[in-house]
Every structure is written in C-alpha cells, then in structure tokens.
C-alpha cells in the first residue's frame, strides 16, 4: 500500500507539533508495511520515500526520476493571521453559518469543477502565505505525475488544496488529517480564506481524521462535516531520548510553560497563575519558554510585578533546549485556550514532569495522570500548584505516574487505525 503524504512540516523542519506527529505516524505506518511518499514545501521538485521504519529518521529526497537529492527547504513562515485589508470574503461568516452539510455521495464524491476554480481564485491572491501554498500545490501537481500511489493523505489546510486537486486529477481517495483548525489558532474567526480552504478540504475529502474529539466537534459544528465521515485518532508520542535527564538548575521548584507565545496557547493565563502563586509567598521559579507575538507584552507585564528573577523568559528554543527546559522542570502547565491535541503534555510526562492541562485540549481526553482544569479557572490551577509544591511526596508520585503512563502512548495503535481507514477507502472503491 502506497500513500502520498502531503505535509508542511517534518523534522528537522518543524514549527509546531505537526512535524513531530507526522514523524511518529509515518514511522509506525512504515512498520505496518505502508509505503509513505511525502512531499514537503521544498524549493526543488523532490519527494521523500519512507518504506522502512528506520527511513523515517532520515528520509531520502528523490527527484522525479528517482535520483536521491538533498533539498533546500522553503523558509518556514510565521503563523501570523490577519485579515487582508480588502477582503473579498467578507460574507464568509454568513457562508459558514448558513452552509448546509454537503450531500456526500459515498464512497468517493467527485470534487466539483467549481471547487477547483474557487481554489485557483483563492490561491491567486497576493497574500504571502497563500502564495507559498500555491507554489506548493503546483509542485505537488507536477511531482505526482511520476509517483505511484493509491491514496492521498493531506495534513492541515496548507496541503488541502493540493490534496483536492490530486483527488480530482487521479480519482484517488483523499484523507484530510485535522491537526489544528483556524478556529484554534485565531481563537474564533480567523483568516477567511483559511476557513474556506478548511471547509472545502474537510467536506470534499473522503475521510477526515481528527486528532481529538474536541477537534472533531469543531469540524462538525463549524464546518458542518458529517459525523460518520470523521474518525478520531489521538496523537501519540515518540521519544527522542530513551532515558531523559533530570537535574536541578534552581533550588526552588520550577514551573514551566512551553509553547509559542500566542493567545491560543494561553501564556497570559500562565502569567496570572505565576502572579498568584508568588503573591501567596511561595518560593518558585516560573519559566516561560518559547517565542511569539506576545513576548514583549508578557515580559512587560511580568517585570511590572517587580518579582526579580522569579519569572524567566527563554526566547526561542532549539530542540535540545526544549528538552533541557523539561529536564529542569517540576511542573508543566499547558493552559491552552483551544488545543486540538497538545503533544507537549506527552513530552512533559516523558521527562517526568507533573502536569496541569486545560480541559480545552485533545490531550486531556486521553491522559489520566494530570490535573485537568478549564483554561479560565486560574484559581484552581493555582491551588493545584500550591498543593504540589507543599507536598513533595505527592508531586513525586504524580511525576512517576506520568512517566509510567506516557509509555502507552506509542504510535502503534494510531497507525493501525489509520491503516484501517486506508483499507476501508481502497476497499469501497
């Protein structure tokens, strides 16, 4: 079975969790005998092949005629969404609310010509990010002529236009994988064009894989995707380091926020928590690790409390630094306002950190050994932190349980479920 994977991220070219999820999934699929051919946003016309699990670690770039190459990746774009000044899509809100569930004609609904025309129009805009999506889509179209595959699997909106086009051209089934929606990133309505692409991609795909029930709910509620078309397959986790280090950098307990500094991830909530914990007189060190548009605002707010070195900022982190941050932390808080999954939670468990995560995350659906709190309930998160700090026995117990529990989140079962989706689609054809 050969699957053409369309994804914007793959290690080492990673912006967020998408790349790590793809890595784990593709490796596990290869183990189940699925051959993965992957197209990334590279400048060169190349694709990558993973047919054995070990090839997932260093996939080899191949040109159309199969020669191995080393590609130069496209620059990765910061995810800053703003409405274009003269938006041609001002009626989209209406469009989304009024849209009726599409008449799906299983097993393989055609992609109507209008959808392709619409995508062409959308991608022809001057917007920088959309322009890159168009380049990618063209690249995929060209490359796919020479690649053998039975099925298309597209990851997130950036690759949906390419997926839809290929489906139209090759009449092969399309799986749309939903790792995050524009509603999560923008905390509400975001870029109208991205909403529209998500709408089209999810509705004209043959199957949708959502990374959590939380995300499935968004797809159903906002994009009117029929429930029977969506399969929930939770993310898993692949440990880079078998036995993670644990050491102390500070005498005081370290409480970590790890993620992009954007409203979605809830760094402001973390700051509120830090403020309240420190006000209570407890000695602790709060570390805000990551970069993003809120950095200056958060730094100004934090320093205005006059708490000296008790709230620290790391700025952008390399992969090694992410691991070091987890190595020195006692408690990790993931106060995301809207988090399709939140792979950081699993990583934190792997590094033996006690976890406090928001209920508005996919991870909270599967993790047992964590405090789960509504993202807005600062008081509750504060009381959990105070409880753990004042009770080292309990803290250690939770850390141990987390370290133990994370072992069960490997990619084997999710990959089997993904393979099952493939089989169903190919079979029904």
């Amino acid at each position: 079975m050969t699957v053409l994977m369309l994804t914007w991220e793959y290690p080492p070219f990673i912006v967020g969790g998408l790349g790590m999820a793809c890595y784990g999934l593709f490796k596990a699929l290869a183990n189940l005998g699925v051959t993965v051919k992957m197209i990334l946003p590279t400048k060169e016309e190349v694709f990558f092949e993973i047919s054995k699990p070990e090839e997932a670690d260093y996939p080899v770039a191949k040109s159309q005629n199969g020669e191995p190459l080393s590609p130069t990746p496209l620059r990765f774009f910061p995810f800053i969404y703003s409405l274009p000044e003269e938006s041609a899509y001002s009626s989209l809100k209406e469009f989304l609310i009024q849209a009726k569930p599409l008449e799906v004609n299983p097993p393989l609904p055609e992609v109507p010509d209008e959808v392709i025309e619409r995508l062409n129009l959308i991608l022809a805009q001057g917007d920088n990010l959309l322009h890159k999506v168009r380049l990618y889509t063209n690249n995929v179209l060209k490359l796919s002529q020479k690649i053998d595959f039975e099925l298309i699997h597209a990851h997130d909106w950036l690759t949906y236009p390419a997926g839809l086009l290929l489906k139209k051209v090759f009449k092969k089934p399309l799986v749309a994988h939903l790792h995050a929606t524009e509603f999560d990133r923008a905390l509400g309505f975001g870029h109208p064009v991205i909403h529209e692409i998500e709408y089209l991609g999810l509705n004209y795909a043959d199957k949708v894989i959502a990374v959590s029930h939380y995300t499935k709910g968004i797809a159903m509620e906002h994009y009117k995707v029929p429930e029977e078309k969506i399969r929930v397959i939770h993310n898993a986790f692949i440990a880079r380091t078998k036995s993670p280090r644990k050491f102390r950098k500070f005498r005081e307990p370290v409480i970590l926020f790890l993620g992009r500094l954007t409203p979605q991830k809830g760094p402001r909530i973390f700051l509120e928590i830090a403020k309240k914990v420190l006000e209570s007189g407890v000695k602790a060190r709060f570390v805000i690790a990551g970069a993003g548009e809120l950095e200056r605002e958060l730094m100004l707010e934090a320093s205005s409390l006059g708490i000296g070195t008790h709230i620290m900022f790391t700025g952008f982190l390399t992969r090694e630094e992410v691991e070091e941050a987890l190595s020195i932390s006692d408690i990790v808080v993931m106060p995301s306002v809207s988090e399709p999954f939140g792979i950081v939670a699993l990583e934190a468990m792997h590094f033996g950190c006690a976890l406090i995560i928001s209920k508005q995350s996919g991870a909270s659906e599967v993790i047992e050994n964590a405090y789960k709190v509504d993202f807005w309930d600062v008081e509750k998160m504060v009381s959990h932190i105070l409880e753990l700090i004042s009770n080292p026995e309990k803290l250690r117990e939770l850390q141990e349980k987390a370290r133990e529990e994370v072992k069960k989140f490997n990619w084997k079962i999710p990959a089997q479920e993904v393979k099952k989706v493939y089989q169903e689609l190919l079979h029904s054809k």
């Binding site: 950098k249 690790a289 950095e295 730094m299 620290m312 790391t314």
Partner: protein, 399 residues
C-alpha cells in the same frame, strides 16, 4: 566676559555576554570580554588616542590658556589599564599638562543616586580614590551619571565637603525661560550649578555631520560667531558661562574623522583664543570669576542630558528596566550584608547605566540612538541576558 567650560565624558561599560537561560548554572563569563576589548580598541584608534593628542597639542600651544575638563569612569580606567595601557598613559600625559581638570562621578557610571544612596556614596568614594591614585588629582567638581540631577543630590553630596560645583543639564523645564549661561545655586545654596548649553553642545555632538541640518556644513568661523553673539544678550555686564558638555566619543567615534571634526575643533579653539572677551576656564574656577550673585534653582524631579525628554526615561521608562535595576540593587545589598566580596564587584559592574539603556523601548528618534549604542539586537534580549545573569548570581550566592 564669556567663559567657556569644556567638559568631556569618558566612559565604557562592561557589556554583558549573550547569556541565555540555558547558560544559568554554567561557567560562561558574565561579561563579553571579546566584545568589550574589540569596542575599546576600536574607539581607542578612532577617538581616545587622536583626540588626546589633539587636545594635548592645543593645551601646550596655548601655554595653558586652553583648558578642558574630563570625567573618566572607573570602568573605563579598568578597561584602559587591561586592554590598552597606552590609552591610560595618554590620559595621564594629558592631565600632566596642567590644562585638564578631572571631575568626580560614580565609579560605575550608575543610577545609584536614584536607587540606593548608600551605594551612591560608596561609588563616588571609589571614584575619588581611583582618580587620586591614577592621576594624583582631587576633584572639587561633581557630575552625576548622564548629568542626572535633582535637589536631594546636593544634600547627599554634602558627604563630600571638597565638592563645590555640580555640572547639570540646562533643561528648558527647570530654566523656565532663563538663560543657561548664568550659573545657579542648588536649592540649599550648598553648590554652584553649571549648566550645559544644550544647543551649542549638541550642534557639535549630534548635528555636526548631519546633512539634513539647515546649518550644514558647520564651519569653525560660523560656530565662533554664534558664541560671540551670546554676549549681545547680556546688558548688565554679567559674565557668561558657556557649558559645552559632551561625550568624548563625539570626536572620531560619533562624528568620524572623515567629517572633519578634528580640524573643526582645532580651528574653533584657535579662533576663540584670539578673542579678547572670551576665556577658557575649569568648572572649579567659575566660583571665583563670578561678578554677580547667582540665583537659586530648584530641581525637584530628576533631569539628565539623555534623549529629547532629558529625564530618566532612557534608563527607567518601562518595567523591564525597573525590574532589572531594582533586582540588581537588592542583590547588591544582600551581598554586602553577607559580605560576599566576589559577588559585590560583579554586581557593581551590573549597576552601570548602559545595561538599562539597552532595554529601552521608546520609539521615534531616540529609539534609533538607543539601537546605535546597543550591542544586542533587541531590548527584550538585553533584558533576558541581564536577568539570566542575575538568576545565576542568585543561585551562586545562596550556595
């Protein structure tokens, strides 16, 4: 008579390393030795050595009629002795001419006068000591970091009875329409205040090579004429005191040699020496040349020579600066209380005002000036490196 008082500020900070959060707990040095040495060498070649040569020649040629004053910080002297002894010796040579007055300030060029008066007194004492040791000189004039001045400072300086005169910024908001050419008395009448004439000072320090300036190019003849014209406003025969205060790096570093700044200065001084009603004096000589009783001047809120605001905002206008400064003085007090010597000297170097200047996020033209002086790409990074160092010190001090 128009008395001209030249005063140059000579200073280099110990810039901190790009000390990341992940460097905490390591042995990475707090100060960027390589960068500090590089900048010191560069400025020595462009400014200190040629400017010292120029002013020494002018002093010798005028047979003592040309006079200048300098304030040289302790951190500068440390760097000079360690990186370029030749520069240190060249200042010693200059002082030996007798045409130079040395001025007292805080050893570390800090804002201790705002945050910790005990530390302020300590740093002034340290500076007086090093000036006496290195130059055999006992200053009687004081200038605070970046000309920061407020009423209370005069009270605090009563701890140093030898200090009679203070240099301050001739800021519009304290002069309220009065001329900066007349020295004033501190509110308690304890000190004579000499004011910077910011227009004529900044014409040289900032505008000299500005092609967008309507007076560009500034010739020595034009500038000397402006000085002579100052006398026209005085009808009661009072002596006028023109304070031309600027960074020493103006010569060759901020205004490059290629702009003709050195030739301009030589010519200006030669022309001024020919004028019968113009004389150069040391700041300390202002007292005895006064032919009128100076008026009192009250400065309740701090003024300085920095930025267009001429207040503390260059170092203390956002919470990053405030938290960093507050924390460094807290740690310093703690280190002193516990008598941890090795930490005291490091923390004192961290009180230098430049560190907080780099954290400034004011915009418009001042933002550009801050950026020009900053060795770090962003104010946020300057803050991060600084706080990481403090966190490391905090951990080590506990140990």
């Amino acid at each position: 008579m128009i008395y001209i008082i030249f005063y140059f500020q000579v200073h280099q900070p110990f810039r901190v390393s790009r000390y990341s959060f992940f460097d905490i707990g390591s042995t990475k040095p707090y100060f960027d030795e390589e960068l500090n040495r590089f900048i010191f060498d560069k400025v020595s070649e462009r400014c200190y050595l040629p400017a010292n040569t120029l002013f020494r020649e002018l002093i010798l040629a005028s047979e003592g009629r040309f006079k200048v004053s300098y304030s040289i910080t302790g951190t500068f002297l440390e760097q000079a002795k360690s990186y370029r002894p030749q520069v240190f010796e060249s200042f010693q040579e200059l002082v030996k001419t007798g045409g130079v007055e040395l001025i007292a300030e805080t050893y570390y060029h800090s804002l201790a006068s705002i945050f910790d008066l005990e530390e302020f007194i300590e740093q002034v004492s340290e500076h007086l000591e090093v000036i006496e040791k290195d130059f055999g000189y006992v200053p009687s004039v004081f200038r605070n970091t970046e000309l920061i001045y407020f009423d209370k400072l005069s009270d605090v300086l009563l701890n140093f009875p030898q200090i009679k005169t203070i240099l301050i910024e001739g800021a519009d908001r304290i002069l309220m329409g009065e001329s900066p050419l007349y020295p004033r008395l501190s509110y308690n009448h304890a000190h004579l205040l000499l004011l910077k004439h910011y227009k004529l000072s900044d014409d040289i320090a900032f505008r000299f090579s500005d092609r967008g300036w309507s007076e560009y190019p500034l010739t020595a003849e034009k500038y000397v004429q402006w000085i002579k014209d100052l006398g026209l406003s005085e009808r009661e025969g009072k002596n006028l005191y023109l304070g031309l205060f600027m960074d020493y790096e103006t010569f060759g570093e901020h205004q490059w040699r290629e702009t003709g700044i050195f030739e301009f200065m030589r010519r200006v001084i030669e022309l001024l020496l020919r004028e019968p009603h113009i004389q150069f004096i040391f700041p300390s000589e202002a007292y005895r040349t006064l032919n009128f009783s100076p008026k009192g001047l009250s400065v309740p809120d701090p003024t300085s020579w920095a930025d267009t605001e001429r207040d503390l905002s260059a170092w203390l206008s956002n919470p990053l600066q405030w938290n960093a400064m507050k924390t460094v003085y807290e740690f310093l007090r703690k280190a002193k209380a516990e008598n941890k010597r090795e930490f005291i000297s490091i923390l004192k170097k961290l009180t230098t005002s430049d560190h907080f200047y780099y954290m400034c996020i004011k915009y418009f033209q001042d933002g550009d000036v801050h950026k020009y002086f900053s060795p770090y790409d962003l104010p946020e990074n300057a803050y991060k490196y600084f706080m990481n160092i403090l966190a490391d010190l905090e951990e080590k001090m506990e140990g």
